[in-house]
Symmetry: C3
C-alpha cells in the first residue's frame, strides 16, 4: 500500500547545536563520569545511571547475581571501598584513591601481610610502557591483585608488604540502563555501549557519553524506526538484554556498538557479521557521503559487545562505529586512556557520523514510479528546464538524481541501492525522490 | 528438439563492399539529408523518409497530434517556412535560410517589432563557443526565439528589431518510418535512431544513415532474428512505437540505438539497463574480437532513446553503440556538428561494428554434445592430427576451440559463454562448433 | 545426527619418514620402472604392475581389445620385441635397444628396405632440439615410423635403408591397476595417473611412483574417505574406469590426476572444470597453508586424464596437481625427460603436497555450536586466560581460531569456509574445533 512519501522526513540536522558546543558538552559529561569507580556490577554503575538520568528518562534494569544468561551466570556484586598496597616503609605504591585502575578488578576482599616473593603473582604491570598502570580484571576467577607502573614494580624493595582490598563480593545484581525512543514503525535499531570500565575515558566512557547525547538529540523528533538504547556491562549486559528480548529479536533491523569514539584517529566502521545488511550499508554510505575520514573493516569475532549480538545463534546486523579500535591505540586499557586522550571535537565528529547514519537509515525507502512506461514528462511539472540543450551535465546533480530515481523506481531499489548504482549522493537522491513524490510520480513501496 | 547446426549461418561479411566505398555512399546520403529542416514533427521528416525510401521498403507511420503516449501527448505539427531576425539597420542577424539552427525549434508563429531589451530573453548563444550557433528547442512550452553566434549577440546595437517566425503550429501528426526484415525466428532485435534534429550531422543524421545502410545490407540475407528498424523523433517516437507494440514487447531480445557514429572518436558501447543481456554481451564481444578501438560504459538514464526502452516499465535490453557520446564532443548541438565532422571512414567503421555484433547475435547458439562421456575420438573423424605430439599449442586456435566447444557443450553454454570462459575468439568457437556439428558431435539446443 | 568430533582425525603426518628418505625411495622405484617399454597396451604395463604389486595389493584389470568405451574402442594389443633403422652402411641410426622412444609408438610390424625419399615420411625429429629424440604415437592409425635426433636425421646419406619393427599387433587387452583403500565413508576420492608412456621420467612415471608411494602411506591408516587409486593408459584407461563405475560415479567427491611431479619447477594446481569444489578448495588451501611454492590455474580442456573426468557428461571435480605442466617444459615428450630431470627432493615435496591436501579433505567438517547464543564462557573451561587484558593479539593464533570457529559454527560453514573467511590457517582452526568439541561446545553437522 503506497504511503505518504514524506512520512519519513529523516533527521533535520540543520537545527543541531554547533559542533564545538556539542563537543564541549560531551567532554564535560565525560569528565563528570570519569572518577566514578565502575565494574561489571556495583554502585558505580548506579551512580553513572543517576548522572545520565538527569537528561534522559532511563529505565534502570537490575539482573540478580546467579541469573543464568545462556552459558554465563551473573556474578556476585562487587563493591570496592578502597584498595591499597603498602611497601615495607608504609608508602602506598598502589592505591585506588589515586586511580581506580590500581586494583585488579573483582579482587576478592583481602587484608594480608606478605613478602615480595609471595606478592609478585598478584602484581601486574606493562614492561613496555613502564610509566602506565594497566587495567586488568578477574571477573570469573577468585583472585586479588594490584596493577601498577612497571617502573614502580621494578623498584620495590624486599620486605613485608601490606595488601588491602576493602571490598564486598556478595549476592546483589548487575545494573544496565535502557531507553526506548519510539518511532512510527516497530522495527528497531539498537544503540548500545558497555559501561563497565573504571576510569578509562576513550574505552568506554566516550561511547557512554555519545549515546547519551545522541538519545537526547533524538528525543521528541519524529522518527521512523524505534530506537533502543542500552548502557550495560560488557558481555553480560548484552546477554541479559538478549535474554530479556529473546522472543522479539526479529524486530531488530540492526544496531551499532559505540566505544572508542573520542581519540584523535579517523572513524572506523567494523561491519556486522552479516556484513551487507541495510544497517551496514547505511553507515558506510553516511561515512562516504558525509566526507568523514574513515575506514571500513570486516567483522572479526573479537572486539566489543558486537561479539554477542553477532554470535551465530543471534546473528543480528550489529556493527561497531568507533575511532581507533580497541587494542590498536597505545593508551588502550592503561592509565593513559584519560581525559586528555579524548577530544571534544572528535566526540562531536563521531556524534555527527552517528546522526548521519541514522538519517540515511530513516529515509532509505523503496520507491515505485507511478509512470514507469517511458520517462514521465518532467517539463510540464516544472522539474526540467523549459529550453532544452541536451542531457543534464555532471554538475547538475539534482537533475541527474531525478533521472536516476525515476529509472530505478521499479519497486526493487531502495535509495541506498540507487546510490550504489548511480554514484549520486544519498541526500541528492532523497531530495529528488521527495520532489517526484510531491509531483505524484513516485509512491513508497511497503516493506523496507 | 535438435535442429540443423548450420541453420543459423550468420552474416557472410566476405561479400561486403570495400569500407571506403561504403563510407563514401554513407557520407553522400548524409550530405543529401543534411539541408532538410527536421523537427519532431513536420514535412522535413516526410522528405527524409522519401529519400530513404528510394532504397528501402519503408513503412511511414503517422501519429496524430493529441495522441496520448503514456505520460506524453503528441504536440501540434510544426512547419517552418522561414524565420529571421532583422537588426535596426535591416541586416538579418539570424536567418533559417542560412542555418536551420537559427530558430528556436518549435517557435510559435511570430511577427513582432521590439527593442533589444525585450528581445534578449528570446536569444540563445554559447558564450564559451562564440562563433557557433547553438541548437535549442522548446517543444512543450509556447515560446519563440533565435539562436545565434555569441559574437554576433554581443555586437547587437540598441534599437528596434524585427522578429519573424513564419511557421504553422497546427493539428497534424508525427512521422516515423519502420522496416521489418523477417528472420527464421520471431524473436526480434530492434535497431533504432532518432531523426528529429535539423542540420546536425553526427547527432543524429549519422545514425539515420547508418541504419539505412545496415538495413540495405541485411535485406535479402538469410537471418535468424527478425530485425525491426525504426527512424523516429526522439522520445516521442520510441514512445509511440512502444505503445503500438505494447502487447508484443516480450518478443524483443534486445536493441541498439544508433547516433553519433561518424566523428573521429573510438567506438563507445553504452550498456542497456540490464547490462548483461545477450545483446549487451554480443556487442561487447564483437567489439573486442573485431579489434575495434572502443570503450564500454554502464547505463545511465540520460542520453538518447535508450532512456525510453530502458525505463522501468519496459526495461528492454537496448544499448547504444556510438562513437563519442553526445554531450562529450565540443561540436555537440552546435553548428559545428556539420558535414566536416562526420568522416566516411568512421561511418564505415561503425557500420562494420554493427554488422559484427549482429553476426555474433545471429549465431550465439547453445550446443549439446552427442558424445558427452569422455572426449569423442576426433582422430577417426579427421578432426585431430594423426601423429600425436601432445595437446594443441597456443597457436593452434582451431584445435583448442574444438576442445573447448566439446567440453562446454553441456546444453547450458552458448558460444558467448564459451568465449567468455575460454578466451578463444567467438568466430573460432563458431567455426569449431560447425565442424563438430557436421561430424554429428553437436546438436543445437532449442531455446537461445 | 551429531557424531564424535574426533571421528575424523586427519592424517598424522608426524610419523612420516624424512623427506630425503622418501625422495630417495621414490627415485629408486622410478629408476627401476624407467627402462620398461610401455605403451597403451602390452606386456610393459603388466611388468610395471608387477613391480608396484610388491608393496601394494593391486588389482590388475584387463579390458579386451575391441571393447567399446563410449566413443572409443580398445585397440589391438601392441608388443614390441625390437625396432631399428639401419643406414646404407648398416649403422643403426635408431634402435629401441638404445631408447624406447626410437620407434613411433604403435608402429605396425614392418620389415622393409627402402630409399631415403620413401623413408622420410616415417621419420620424426625436433628441428629446434636437434639432439633430442621426440616421443610420437599413432595409436589409432596404422602406420610405422622412427623418431630420432634431428642432428642424425639431417646427416642421413642417400641410399637404401632397412626398417624393422618386430612387433605384434593382435587382439589382447589393455592393462590397468586399481587399489581401493576403504575409509569410514563410502564417499570416494580418486587418485589417478596414466602409465602408458615409455621411458619418460617426469611425464608420466613420476606420477606413477607418487601414487604408489602415497597409497603405501595411506594403507592401514584410519581414513574418512574411501580412496580409489588408478594406474592406467591415458584416455582409454579412465574411460574404461568410468564405464565400469558408471552407476556409482555419484559417490565420487573429487579426484586428482598425478603427472609431472618430479621436475625442478614449483607446484601447479590445475582446477577441475567445476573449479570451486571441495576438492579444489582443499588442494588450494593445502598448498597455501603448507607454504608450498605454487600457482593455480583454471581448467582447460587439454592436458592429461582430467579431460575425461571433466567431460560434460561426467563433470567430476577432478583437478591436476603437478609441477611444470606438460607442454611447458622443454624436455616434455623428448629423450631429455629422463632420470636426471626428476629430482628426489621434488618427488618428496610433491608427495607432501598430496598428503597435505588429503589431510585437509579428511577433516573439512561442518560444525555446529552447542552454545550459539552469545559467546560461551571459555574461561571456566580452561580455554581462555584467567586474567583478561583484552582480545587476543594477532600472534595468538590459537585464541583467535577458537573465536572464529565458535562464531562460524552455525551449521553452514565447514573449516574450509572458516579458513577462507578468517584468514586463519586450516590446521589452527581444526585444532581449535577439536578443543571446542572436546569441551562439548561443538558437534559435527552431518553431511559434508
Amino acid at each position: 500500500m503506497p504511503v505518504d512519501a514524506r512520512a519519513r522526513p529523516g533527521l533535520d540536522l540543520a537545527d543541531l547545536p554547533p559542533a564545538d558546543e556539542l563537543g564541549a558538552q560531551m567532554h564535560a559529561l565525560l569528565a563528570e563520569l570519569f572518577p566514578i569507580h565502575r565494574s561489571i556490577t556495583g554502585e558505580g554503575l548506579r551512580r553513572t545511571a543517576a548522572v545520565l538520568s538527569r537528561d534522559l528518562p532511563l529505565e534502570v534494569v537490575e539482573t540478580p547475581s546467579g541469573t543464568q544468561l545462556f552459558d554465563w551466570v551473573v556474578p556476585r556484586e562487587w563493591n570496592l571501598r578502597e584498595a591499597w598496597l603498602a611497601a615495607p616503609d608504609g608508602r602506598r605504591v598502589a592505591d585506588t584513591a589515586r586511580s581506580s585502575l590500581h586494583v585488579l578488578a573483582y579482587s576478592v576482599p583481602t587484608r594480608e601481610r606478605l613478602r615480595l616473593d609471595a606478592l609478585r603473582p598478584h602484581l601486574f604491570s606493562l614492561p613496555d610502557q613502564p610509566d602506565l598502570i594497566p587495567f586488568r580484571t578477574s571477573y570469573h576467577d577468585d583472585n586479588w591483585g594490584f596493577c601498577l607502573e612497571h617502573r614502580v614494580l621494578e623498584s620495590l624493595p624486599e620486605g613485608e608488604y601490606e595488601a588491602v582490598v576493602d571490598a564486598t563480593l556478595e549476592p546483589g545484581s548487575m545494573t544496565s540502563a535502557e531507553l526506548t525512543i519510539p518511532g512510527a514503525s516497530d522495527r528497531e535499531i539498537l544503540l548500545t555501549g558497555y559501561w563497565c570500565h573504571p576510569s578509562l575515558a576513550n574505552d568506554n566512557l566516550s561511547g557512554v557519553v555519545l549515546l547519551a547525547t545522541l538519545a537526547r538529540l533524538l528525543l521528541g523528533r519524529p522518527l521512523h524506526y524505534t530506537y533502543r538504547f542500552l548502557w550495560s556491562p560488557g558481555t553480560l549486559g548484552p546477554l541479559a538484554w538478549l535474554e530479556r528480548n529473546r522472543d522479539r529479536l526479529d524486530r531488530v533491523d540492526g544496531g551499532i556498538v559505540a566505544a572508542c569514539v573520542g581519540d584523535a584517529g579517523p572513524l572506523t566502521y567494523k561491519r556486522s557479521r552479516q556484513g551487507t545488511s541495510r544497517l551496514d550499508r547505511a553507515v558506510e554510505r553516511a561515512l562516504s557521503d558525509g566526507g568523514h575520514p574513515h575506514s571500513v573493516r570486516d567483522f572479526v569475532p573479537w572486539g566489543g559487545d558486537e561479539r554477542q549480538f553477532c554470535s551465530p545463534g543471534f546473528d543480528l546486523p550489529v556493527g561497531c562505529l568507533m575511532r581507533t579500535p580497541n587494542m590498536e591505540y597505545p593508551e588502550y586499557h592503561t592509565s593513559a586512556d584519560d581525559l586528555e586522550l579524548v577530544r571534544p571535537a572528535q566526540l562531536a565528529g563521531s556524534l555527527r557520523a552517528y546522526l548521519d547514519a541514522i538519517d540515511v537509515l530513516e529515509t532509505d525507502v523503496v520507491y515505485r514510479s507511478t509512470s514507469p512506461h517511458g520517462e514521465p514528462q518532467l517539463g510540464k511539472r516544472g522539474l526540467y528546464r523549459a529550453i532544452s540543450a541536451g542531457a543534464p551535465r555532471p554538475e547538475e546533480v539534482g537533475a541527474r538524481a531525478i533521472q536516476w530515481v525515476l529509472n530505478l523506481a521499479d519497486g526493487r531499489h531502495s535509495l541506498l541501492d540507487m546510490a550504489d548504482r548511480s554514484g549520486v549522493p544519498f541526500a541528492a537522491l532523497r531530495e529528488a525522490a521527495w520532489k517526484l513524490a510531491d509531483a505524484g510520480l513516485l509512491v513508497e513501496e511497503e516493506a523496507a
